[in-house]
Assembly symmetry: C2
Homo-oligomer: 405 residues x 2
């Protein structure tokens, strides 16, 4: 009886461990022949053939042409069948949401970006998201039943196993809200995976950015807040409560200003985007920057990090000083993380990276000055190679990588 | 021809992946029957029988009696054969060395402790160690050829793959010295594994201490310096250059005193043992502590952390203040690590823990005050359960766990 369901939703076919390994090998290495797979996985040729036949039968793999001959007949190459099913990546920010629809190889086929406010009641917010996704599927002539997995990034601490937010400062109404269930109502064939926004950025960088050849790296997001995705031994490290990488509340000055968390001198309150904008405002009010004073007046007393960036680009000394000061504070904190994690690289993303290259140079200097010589001798520090696409890329791969796990 | 070697040194038998899994399962679970192993590892009964027969034949396993019947005949239980071979654990400190000899189940059969100075030329230092080990083997009537593995902890950064120290501040002459080769000259049957002293402490705590049921914890050593062993996802995390956990040079005060590394305000220069002793000396000289003034005079101007501990135990207010101040500084730095790693527990070891329970209480308070609520709701902070045995325990298990890897 339940067999009818299985034919309706191909994605519900349950892979065993060896089948998963075959799919994984092809995802990582690209097209492979049966001989190549057999060598790669140390499976006997006969069991490999049986596994591949099964995966061809359920439509997960497809034969995509012939490879180079090793002497005899040219081997047939196997690849993931991109049309086996579809996945969605959703990157929820504090005031925006990005949605992408991708095929089973992770290639984006439709994208949509919208303003949104996470302070909205989660049931409404997620119903809107589901509507947008339905419209995107419709525009692509894809049945909602072919959507097999949804990866969601949210700006708050997530318990990965349940997909629920725990004590999220930006979106308190979402605490313990069942995000997975909300999506499954509209997309019954889809599995849903929810992770912290910075973790999905680290996943994105590991798949298609500067981290693709690395085992250990940190992805640091600097925006309204500061957070860190930790990629160790080839996978995201989430910690015992799912909140590893919450570096915004590392203390950088025990006599510093009080953070919204109640403690003095947190990295976030002193060096994130709002702090940069506030330092700009103070410089404008103190008459230290004509550029920023004019902006402040033109914008009814409001300044953003973009204004500080514009001022710096125009050669404004006060703005450049603010950027250097912020980069130095961030670099000092990163030095502690470098000593603790000894990563191969740090990638920096988030809105504040648009502030320019002086910022990156200062972060590098401060990190290298404070971290130990051994931990920095091969360390790379750079902006995310995927920039503002890193979150949505990570959300798609969160969906793809976990679907058969 | 080379077969004769194999019979001389049983430890050189190379296990394949499935044989390793069987040995590992018995190490972790204790005695198991063939049926239990077959279930535990999801191997077919026939392949499991073949593997076990091979391991019985080479002497690695032994049959140790009968288990509870599941209905029919009582099953024969299998265990590691403790006499298959022997391992040594060596814990090298700045001024001391601990050596232990253990059977193949990790049970210590002989121990030896000695003063030693790591500033000695490494060739001489290691020749002395080999001599001590030979004498211990002789006293136990064990042939040096039965010593199959040696685990060594050293007080400096180690590249684990090569077993060489890299830029070790306490023992510069050891840089790139081939420790493994030095031992193999005397113990040709032994594999040698070298790791940082704090990493072996974390291993010890994970095997026989408070970490035995945990996946993620930090082991913090406070002595002459401050370091951290990082145990993540069930294994030691060493970082990309082997120097992860070098937390002694995390900055806790950008205006603090200059550390031997050249930077101001490192945790180590402000809160390790020598800093506590120095604060005691200053209190004595300033006339703030009669107890410490008398000690200082009696000891020709020298004070140690033990003197500060004695003063605190006698109710000396200045000494208690110093202990609280040091614990607060350490706890502040640990809060940053808790936010970053989100561990289940922190264990604190090293000489300074003898300073008493006020120290631990202050560390706890400072950590909980500064770390995020989510990351601390299940966090335990306690002294090492194995105390001064944790290093040698870890060195033995470093030897045992890697022998077949």
């Amino acid at each position: 009886m339940s067999m009818s369901n299985e034919t309706t939703h191909p994605g519900e076919y349950q892979l065993d461990e060896q089948e998963r390994a075959v799919v994984q090998a092809i995802r990582e290495k690209g097209n492979l022949s049966r001989t190549g797979l057999s060598k790669e996985l140390s499976y006997s040729r006969s069991s490999l053939t049986a596994i591949v036949n099964k995966l061809l039968q359920v439509g997960l793999l497809s034969e995509v042409g012939e490879g180079q001959s090793g002497g005899g007949r040219r081997p047939t190459l196997l690849d993931i069948n991109p049309d086996y099913g579809y996945v969605a990546g959703i990157d929820i920010g504090a005031t925006s949401v990005d949605i992408a629809l991708a095929d089973f190889n992770g290639r984006i086929i439709e994208e949509y970006a919208s303003h949104a406010d996470v302070r909205t009641e989660p049931e409404l917010f997620l119903a809107d998201l589901s509507m947008m996704l339905l419209e995107m599927l419709d525009a692509c002539k894809i049945s909602p039943n072919s959507l097999l997995s949804i990866g969601v990034g949210v700006p708050g601490p997530v318990q990965f196993s349940t997909g629920m937010l725990v004590a999220p400062p930006l979106m308190p109404a979402w605490e313990n809200f069942p995000i997975k269930t909300a999506f499954r109502g509209t997309f019954p064939a889809a599995q849903v995976f929810v992770d912290n926004d910075v973790n999905i950025m680290a996943i994105g960088e590991s798949i298609a950015g500067g981290g693709s050849a690395l085992d250990n790296f940190l992805f640091v997001k600097v925006g309204t807040g500061i957070g860190c995705g930790i990629y160790l031994n080839g996978q995201i490290y989430r910690g015992s409560d799912g909140c590893a990488g919450d570096i915004g509340h590392i203390c950088i000055d025990y006599n510093g200003p009080i953070c919204h968390c109640g403690n003095p001198g947190c990295l976030e309150i002193m060096a994130a985007g709002p702090a940069i904008a506030e330092l700009g405002r103070q410089a404008a009010l103190a008459g230290k920057s004509q550029f920023l004073s004019e902006r402040l007046e033109a914008q009814q007393g409001q300044l953003t990090t973009k204004d500080v960036a514009d001022a710096a680009a125009a050669g404004d000394a006060a703005a450049n000083e603010i950027i250097k000061q912020s980069g130095t504070m961030l670099g000092g904190a990163l030095a502690s993380l470098v000593n603790a994690f000894n990563p191969q690289a740090i990638f920096i993303g988030g809105g504040v990276t648009n502030i320019g290259l002086t910022y990156l140079a200062t972060i590098r200097q401060a990190t290298l000055r404070r971290a130990t010589a051994l931990s920095t001798r091969k360390l790379g520090i750079q902006y995310s190679q995927l920039a503002d696409k890193v979150g949505i890329t990570g959300a798609i791969w969160l969906a793809l990588e976990n679907i058969f796990a």
